[in-house]
Amino acid sequence: MATYIIRRLLLLGVVLFGVSILIFGILMTFSPERRAAAYVSSPQQVKDIPAIVEQFGLDDPFYLQYFRWIKEVFSGNLGWSVVAARPVWDAFWHYFPITLELNLFTSPFIIIFGIWLGTQAGIHRNTFIDHSTRIFAITGWSLPTFLFGLIMLMIFYGYFGIFPPGIISDDLGMFIRENPDRFRQYTHMYTIDGLLNGRLDITLDALKRLFMPVLTQVVVIVALLMRVMRSSMIEEISKEYILTARAKGADKRTIYFKHARKNALIPVVTVAGWLVAFLMEGSIAVEYIFTRQGIGWWLASSAISLDIPVLMGVCLFFGLVYVIANLIIDILYAYIDPRIRLT
């Protein structure tokens, strides 16, 4: 197991190095003047751009520039974000809790519903349950996140007026900003901070605004897990040990939930990597539609205003999250299934 983990960690380094070269390579297509923005860390420096091109040698060959850039990244200097009007590193920590909050609320629903519906569809193959979950899955899969979000806004915000967009109401947001001593922001997630400060109204308001984004994410992404769980369950049920259990007269509950589902979950673990990617992609559309100022919203807004340092930073961050998530999943998988780590 230890050698397996060490090998995976080495690979992780290789992949991250590749990702940084890839991102840098894409953004090297810009003129040196545009790229100078990546080295600027306050608005006063913007007029010094020609000097910066000179100073940082932005006309130098690729590898020289790459090593200089990566050194800056390691020292925490990712440049200046025009959209956020602060350094990328600071802005990142400002936006990150919002995205984390959205996905912390989304993932349990996806996992629970995905596994439950997939198991049911697998057990009751070719029945009404199977067909209706299949239709639900294909429809959910075909709904573009941004469009579904817009329709949700039309119905729940426009027509019923119950679930407003945004993160927190203007009044409460003002109160939080003006009273840092009376409302301590421990996590920067309003739902949790509200509870920690004993302000239930803030938690409730934040939850009300989380409803539509979470629903949108769940409906679009749950299909993936459901379908994989279904086919894995079907495969497991057709195996001989299930037949043996049946022949011995075990009841259906024991067969399906104690034997089959446990084994059927093993291949599902590998889809978790996809899940992470889809959650990150979904956050971009969801945050953009519901004007939640998180990483996704920041990325989309930065792309529109050609804010290159942000694009580089966020790409690196997403790459890091995805690679580490996959490493954890692989180790978990090797832990559950000894056949993997022995080959």
Binding site: L11, V14, V15, L16, G18, V19, L22, I23, I26, L27, T29, F30, R134, I135, I138, T139, W141, S142, L143, P144, T145, F146, L147, L150, I151, L153, M154, Y157, G158, Y159, G161, S231, I234, E235, A277, F278, M280, E281, I284, A285, Y288, L299, A300, A303, I304, L306, I308, L311, M312, V314, C315, F318, G319, Y322, V323
Partner: protein
């Protein structure tokens, strides 16, 4: 004699399986409808500007959408662009995006996957690490970065999507080849002294291509969705171009109407949005049916 050829019998069986699935029939009908609209677009909605039919005609510049009327049977969106015209010509845009992106991505992916799976060793290791690197960044994020680097525009979005989309085909093709490579019929062919190229083209590719085919069908839908989102954000098609995502973007400020009639401008969002959903649904329904028909595990179930 020819009627009993095993390949033909298999094909018949597969077709029967596909068309025995009611969802597949819905999918194919939807697709046929969209193909018909795309082919006959010049007759259904005659273009106003001969040189650039993808430019939506508009009368006036008023920002408020107008409801369906005799002149504009689906109404007009912000900027008085005719929604019906946009919906019809948007079909062509969607086909262009989906087919261009998936064809290029699948070709690159299949070639690299075959090389990687069949030769193995250092070639395989190198190629798979490159795929790992490209895979590490989500499709939408990487596409955005490339589009920002190359400049805006629908053509740039398409190129960027193709540059990112190939990665999944390599993995699927490779794993499908790895299982086939060890099977008896390939070993037999190798023992008989058949050349590598011939084994690949005649024995491995025809048997291993099915997962790629299923994936390509599903991918056409997702590529159109990503392109629509890029246009929605403002990185794709320019204003007034007949593209569904761009039309949704035009109507973005009219999601919620005046307080007395909050759903007043529904047509400006629902019509182009519905086109996207139905188009993607068609490809996904077909892809799902193909997967069931091709999957050897459940094929004879």
């Amino acid at each position: 004699m020819i009627a009993n050829h095993p390949r033909l019998k298999e094909l018949k069986f597969t077709l029967r399986r596909i068309f025995g699935n009611p969802l597949a029939i819905i999918g194919f009908s939807l697709l046929l409808f969209f193909i018909a609209v795309a082919v006959f677009a010049p007759y259904i909605a005659p273009p106003k500007y001969e040189h650039n039919p993808y430019l939506m005609p508009h009368k006036g510049y008023s920002q408020t959408p107008r409801p369906p009327s005799k002149q504009n049977i689906f109404g007009t969106t912000a900027g008085q662009y005719d929604i019906f015209y946009g919906a019809v010509w948007g079909t062509r845009t969607a086909f262009k995006i989906g087919i261009f992106v998936v064809c290029i991505a699948a070709c690159i992916g299949v070639i690299l996957g075959v090389i990687s799976g069949y030769y193995g060793g250092i070639v395989d290791e190198l190629l798979m690490r490159i795929v790992d690197i490209v895979f590490a960044i989500p499709l939408l994020v990487l596409t955005m970065a490339i589009v920002v680097a190359f400049g805006r525009g629908l053509d740039k979005v398409m190129i960027a999507l193709a540059m990112v989309g190939w990665r999944s085909y390599v993995r699927v093709m490779r794993s499908s080849i790895l299982t086939l490579r060890e099977l008896d019929f390939v070993q037999a062919a190798r023992a008989m002294g058949v050349s590598n190229i011939k084994i690949m083209l005649r024995h491995i590719l025809p048997n291993g291509i099915y997962p790629v085919l299923v994936m390509a069908f599903m991918d056409i839908g997702s590529m159109v969705v990503v392109a629509a989102f890029m246009s929605f954000v403002g990185l794709g098609a320019p204003k007034g171009y007949a593209d569904w995502g761009q039309m949704v973007a035009l109507a973005r400020n009219y999601i919620v109407g005046p307080p007395d009639d909050p759903l007043k401008y529904w047509y400006a969002i629902v019509i182009p949005g519905g086109c996207i959903v139905l188009f993607v649904l068609a490809w996904n329904l077909i892809g799902d049916a193909l997967r069931d028909a091709f999957d050897p595990k459940i094929r004879r179930g």
